[in-house]
């Protein structure tokens, strides 16, 4: 069974936010849009983003790492947002493993966002429905797009090629290979959600006589 996912390579992500705004740009006018912004030109602007980059510092000076961490819906194999949904709006597709919200059925109760341990859901106050990453489901099957463009917008945009899109159940996919070969990991595996999205860790390359 197919499980589409993103593999995000933290070894090359420079935190440029291309994935954040290219996602917004595609999806706000796409089938999952619009993605409203409140106070877009005022105090405390607050908009719907399906993908956000968080930045962390790890360690103490001078042994500090700055880690840019892009995060969107992880399309869990056992998504806790699905069973809590009272209307069936939040669902996982059998064919490709994408977790979606059917806006027609969503009543805006927010149970799914409480259930999601990753904070990956975005509530649209204006339409009173829950929104989230769709893996650009309106791009990836679009036969009228050139084949190399049937990818999520964030993957197309990423200047560092830090986002690899593919079927992680296919052992020969590039995504699976990279997870395997570069110690890819999932977030909070102890919760049993089995996130489909994976992250590739930093690999530090030391100089020949760098004993640090």
């Amino acid at each position: 069974m197919t499980q589409l996912a993103l593999v995000i390579d933290l070894n090359v992500c420079v935190g440029c936010h291309a994935c954040v705004t290219s996602c917004k740009e595609w999806n706000t006018s796409g089938q999952a849009g619009p993605m409203p912004d409140d106070n877009p030109y005022g105090a405390d602007p607050s908009g719907v983003f399906f993908n956000r980059v968080q930045t962390y510092e790890v360690g103490s000076f001078p042994h500090t790492e700055t880690v840019h961490f892009p995060k969107s819906c992880l399309h869990c194999e056992d998504p806790p947002c699905v069973p809590v949904c009272p209307t069936g709006a939040s669902h996982k597709r059998e064919a490709d493993g994408i977790v979606l919200v059917d806006y027609d059925k969503c009543i805006g109760c927010k149970y799914c966002s409480w259930a999601c341990p990753y904070g990956a859901r975005e509530f649209d106050e204006h339409s009173q429905v829950m929104k989230k990453c769709t893996l650009c489901v309106d791009r990836i099957y679009d036969q009228t797009l050139p084949e190399q463009e049937r990818k999520p917008a964030c993957v197309m945009a990423c200047p560092a090629n830090a986002r690899i899109f593919g079927d992680i159940h296919d052992p020969d996919s590039q995504a699976s290979q990279m997870i395997r070969e570069q110690q890819g990991y999932a977030l909070m595996p102890e919760l049993g959600t089995q996130p489909a999205n994976h992250y590739l860790p930093r690999h530090i390359r030391r100089g020949s006589d760098d004993s640090a």
Partner: protein, 990 residues
Amino acid sequence: MQTGSAVTNNGNIEVKNTTCYMCACRCGIRVTLQDGIVRYIQGNPDHPLNQGVICAKGSSGIMKQYSPARLTKPLKRKAGAERGDSEFEEITWDEAFDILEKRLAHLRATDPKKFALFTGRDQMQALTGLFARQFGTPNYAAHGGFCSVNMAAGMIYSIGGSFWEFGGPDLEHAKVLMMFGTAEDHHSNPLKIALSKFKRQGGRFISVNPVRTGYSAIADEWVPIKPGTDGAFIMAMMRILIEEGLVDEPFLVDYSNSAQLVIQDPQHPDFGRIARNTQGSPLVWSGKRQQAVSFDAREDGIVLDGAFTLADGTPVKTAFRLLKEQLAEYTPEYAEQITGIPAADIVRLARELGETALTKGGELPIAWTDCWGRQHASISIRPVAFHAMRGLAAHSNGFQTIRAFSLLLSLLGTIDRPGGFRHKAPYPRPIPPGPAIPSSPDDVQPGKPLNGAPLGSPASPDDLFVDANGQPVRLDKAFSWEHPLSLHGLMHNAITNAWRGDPYPIDTLLIFMANMAWNSTMNTSEIRKMLNDKRADGEYKIPFLVVCDAFQSEMVAYADLVLPDTTYLERHDCISMLDRPISEYDGPVDSVRIPVVPPTGQCKPFQEVLVELASRLKFPAFTNEDGSRKFKDYPDFITRFETAPGSGIGFLAGWRGKDGSKAMRGEPNPRQWEMYEKNNCVFHYHLPREQQYMRNWNQAYLDWAHENGLIGKNAPIVIQVYSEILQEFRMAAEGRRPGKQPPEHLRERVKTYCDPLPFYYRPLETQRSDCDTYPLNAVTQRPMAMYHSWDSQNAWLRQIHTYNYLYMSPRLGQQGGFEDGDWVWVESMHGKVRCMARFSEAVEPGTVWTWNAIGKAAGAWNLDPEANEARKGFLLNHLIAEELPPGPEGEHLSNSDPITGQAGWYDVQVRVYKAEEDEDFSWPQFPAQPTVPGEPSRPDTLAYHAARGGAANPAPTPWHEQFADKLAPLTQPLQGIGKRIVSAITGEKD
């Protein structure tokens, strides 16, 4: 063009190519329009620069196009309103042109230098420079003087090329990359693409930077250095490389002036010059023959390091020996004290660079012939790449630091070799590259073009643009003894000098897309007062201020006349070989913008304004012999303009010749724009492989570049380890040279800083600061998702950076009794600002830093006056002076590099202390700028959707339609662009 059903089933879809301008990177973009509304901007996969990718800024172009901060009408300051009040009345373009024509015609006919044109990060300096030159004013410059001219001048005067537009690191072949302070846009997407590939193929990335953000985040090793001390670090590494024999000796002997003999007798009239034979060839020492021989004879056995006596008894030393002597004091221990980098690390890093460069390279099997006729079977790989930009440049010791940096690259033999530094056309160019600048006040004449280019590169003191007393002719004092090699001018002093009338008052100042009342100026609070200051007779000290911009910036508020520019999606543009093109290592590349949407309101591209004014003022280059107008508009100008009659060289190098069959050089092609449009708006000329490397000395390349007008002569471009040009300036200062002489008060300064060999000195402002009271360095950085001040009006990007903190080591909080997130004062000897502290372990503990240009004046950029940018954001510029404190050389000297005039942004010393309890907003605050006529109103809610289903071709019902009626109603009526956004969402038409 094939497009997806996600859009094709919804209305009329068009896909157009053009070039991005959300920063200066200039990526190819593909714009999808839905019923004329911008639906999607993606990277153009067929573009050599970005290869299909796009950054956060580029992806947010929609929010720039439809921003409520757009200026849409020409405006005139209301009678009775003061500058800064932002009170304007709408006028027509005819009125605006009449006002300008009348005023400028008078100035041109009487005293052309009273008109000054300064431009920001525009990409049309070939045109703006031509306009100024044809006008006849010397007072023209772009942003380079306050950006990175040290990087340009320091490298161009050393190796004949520089970073970013003119060269870069060859990460395809490199094994180690050492990067010094570099902002994300230098280079943006190409560098991200290359860094990712480099790391994945096993390259090791070392970042030397006081702060670990941006590209440094993914470095394998972070070397936190104190700001402004890079010169000491680099000099110490060079010392180790030479001491341990880790230098590319044959390269230095053959391709640099390292082995050339410098006269050492202080009594000799040519003391300090390179000894030459009667033919003018530099002399080198033959170890075999034990005598001086011509550098150009290419004999074997030339000695790199030595001291000798010429046949006439003159003592000489090789330039390399002098460099070694200069380096003697730069021990790793000395450098540790200056830089904060442990001596052992300096030694280790130097060895790593040297060993990698010299032992881990190999050869590329590409045969080539050098300028002396010698054939080479291959090209040596030197797999150590460097990159650097403003971190080195924006200090008043930056020029000499970058001279040192250039020499480090040269010692390792990395210049235009695989894995090292690679040139991009039109570079390499001769040292100096030209063009010739005017050198006398007589070169400025009423009614005539300027005799020389307003910006160029002096080759000797006699090229300086000074009067008989050695005083500057230019308003910004560029090319004067204060800053002899100020290749890009000193825009950061233009307003202060014009206000003070030093060296003279001007009449009209035209500013194009530069926010000189805010983030593009030093000393912001005072500059705002100067812009509004009046003489005793009630006239403004700068009598007429014209601002052309696409957005309602802080600067616009001070204008007497506002010209509304278009966005990048609304105009023609060219990224020209005559300017700063987007060339690749393998050959020249230029590109164009072609409008994808019509201009908004009355917006007019600045290029069209210039062509119109140039035609009205009858500039020779814009007028036929019979006095009639030569060019219909900007596209026509670009098609038909040639650098000289019949030269075949114009702004665009692609599809020249009558039928478009010629490249680089050929007659104007009336269908050139069409051909660019059909070819992704980009032209890429691929050099043969044998012309892609070692281009300073590659005869085939130099011949080709000369034939195509990139360089004036096809002679070898020898690396200036010892800068003979600087030595000429030093000799003038010592009174040992006929010709132009510095004024007495500047002699010592010129003599000290125009050292022909690099050296480290404390930045000038630091030398004059009380570093006990102000112990911290304060610097700024540019975030990846914002370009200068451009993007706070962008609804999506401002959500990434809505306000800024001052980042600092938690130790400062412990010492000062404040916590993370507390309001603090940051104070320099010039003033103070209030901001919020953010503790960080990713910063060198003696440094504090913030993101540049996030803080805004209240109401500017059509943000709500209560927006976070104004209440919580802050601008460090208030603490940075545009002039140095008075010193031995007198007063009113620019706070800049003493050689190039590069603004010393990063030299300021500060202290930080806790603010009072009730001080919970940023300071200084300014009265809120009102919006101007024609500016669209701000929506309280935005829900951008390019279009709804087209009636002719109904799509499967999009999800959003199910709740379209639930969209929160907009709370204010919209007009203009705002209305267009809403109609795009709701499908309502006017």
